[in-house]
Amino acid sequence: MSKNGKEGSYGGSSMERLYNGLVKENPTFVLMLGMCPTLAVTTSAMNGLGMGLTTMVVLALSNMIISLLRGIIPDKVRIPAFIVVIASFVTMVELLLEGFLPALYDALGLYIPLIVVNCIILGRAEAYASKNPVIPSLFDGIGMGLGFSFALTCIGAVRELIGAGEIFGLHIMPDSYVPCAIFIMAPGAFFVLAALTAIQNKIRINGEKKGRDMSKIQSGCNEDCMNCGEKGCSHRFYGASGSPEKESGNGRRGKNAQAVNADGKGRE
């Protein structure tokens, strides 16, 4: 936690990157990034794992390429350039899944192409890969991807266990258990996520009481799936006050961020 905020000062060691993605900055459990796929595909542990690993592949490869191109892409057009790189990898992965894992392809459906707008990927490109060498960026992608897979598998397992009495299709609960099917339907996703964020809040409140730095928790985005990185739009909706107009400006990055901010304030 002590190193947060300065991407450049991170140690470059690969193990440290993996640990960072899995535990310290776990995209789902700590940062709360990429909530749309998290809710949509975690109907079973298997689907969660499949989505997590698919995202990991895209994340690792796009991090690598973006890191290689970091000296070439001009600052002004970096977001569109990142998106093209990410979308290319997503298309490749989609075609590969369709060819070799049709069952997973059918289960994930629309959410595979939507990996493009998963803020974890653009967030990592912006916050880490565009500023760091290739090998650490690759491991950063793998670490974050593993963290995401781990989180999705856990959430999927909980939902499957309550909703169907199974984990990975294995019957676990005793026969007397009546599955609560709502948990593998849409409303269940909201309830599981509500419980998860409540636990995060609890940990944050307790940590803050002990004087620890808890600013990482829920510092992901909650408004715009695209214009968010690790720091770009943190604490907009967890802060005490501020109107959406004001807050909306913070999500914009790049050269026109100031202009948008000024516009937003002027219109109030």
Binding site: A87, L110, F190, T197, E223
Partner: protein, 192 residues
């Protein structure tokens, strides 16, 4: 034809609600739902952008991607087209319709590449909708989004005065509300 469009209209706006059953556009749904009027503004902007984007994406898919046989590039093309389209709409409104820009302008940058916009463009292709059906589907989906975000904002306004356990303040209670709304919307599935 009319009957088919009507079925799409009802199923996309209520039965398969974009937020509550497909989890698309969740970020603005949770983020911009503190007050009813801002939620309505966001909803209006989403209706405008999604309808336009599904029209443009439909035309591009039919007359460019299919003609050239490069439909596998749809994800890349759609996301770039949508991003460019929203930027263009923003500039156009600013220049020629300042009053509409006043109302919607704040929200436009937020939905540039919202997953719902891309999601609808891809759904239209997946379900093999034509251009007109695609536009109706996009419009209906966006109406569904607006309905649910305005309802959520209304509930949240009331909830301001309630006593909520400390760790449930903020997002958790909003998510519980959304879950209950999702259960309520499950009731629409008997409609068709």
């Amino acid at each position: 034809m009319v009957k088919e469009l009507l079925v799409i209209l009802i199923s996309s706006s209520l039965v398969n609600n974009v937020v509550l059953s497909q989890f698309l556009g969740l970020c603005p749904f949770l983020g911009v739902s503190k007050k009813t009027n801002t939620a309505a503004g966001m909803g209006a902007a989403v209706i405008f952008v999604i309808t336009l984007a599904s029209a443009v994406a439909g035309v591009i898919y039919k007359y460019v991607l299919e003609k050239l046989g490069i439909t596998y590039l749809q994800t890349i093309v759609f996301i770039l087209v949508i991003a460019a389209l929203v930027q263009f709409v923003e500039m156009f409104l600013k220049k020629f319709m300042p009053s509409l820009y006043q109302a919607l302008g704040v929200y436009l940058p937020l939905i540039t590449t919202n997953c719902a916009v891309l999601g609808i463009a891809l759904t239209n292709v997946q379900k093999k909708y034509g251009i007109l059906t695609g536009i109706v589907n996009g419009f209906a989906t966006a109406v569904g989004f607006t309905v649910s975000i305005v309802i959520l904002a209304g509930i949240r306004e009331k909830m301001e005065y309630n006593e909520i356990p400390e760790s449930f303040k903020g997002m958790p209670i909003v998510l519980v509300t959304a879950g209950l709304m999702a259960i309520a919307f499950c009731g629409f599935s008997g409609l068709l």
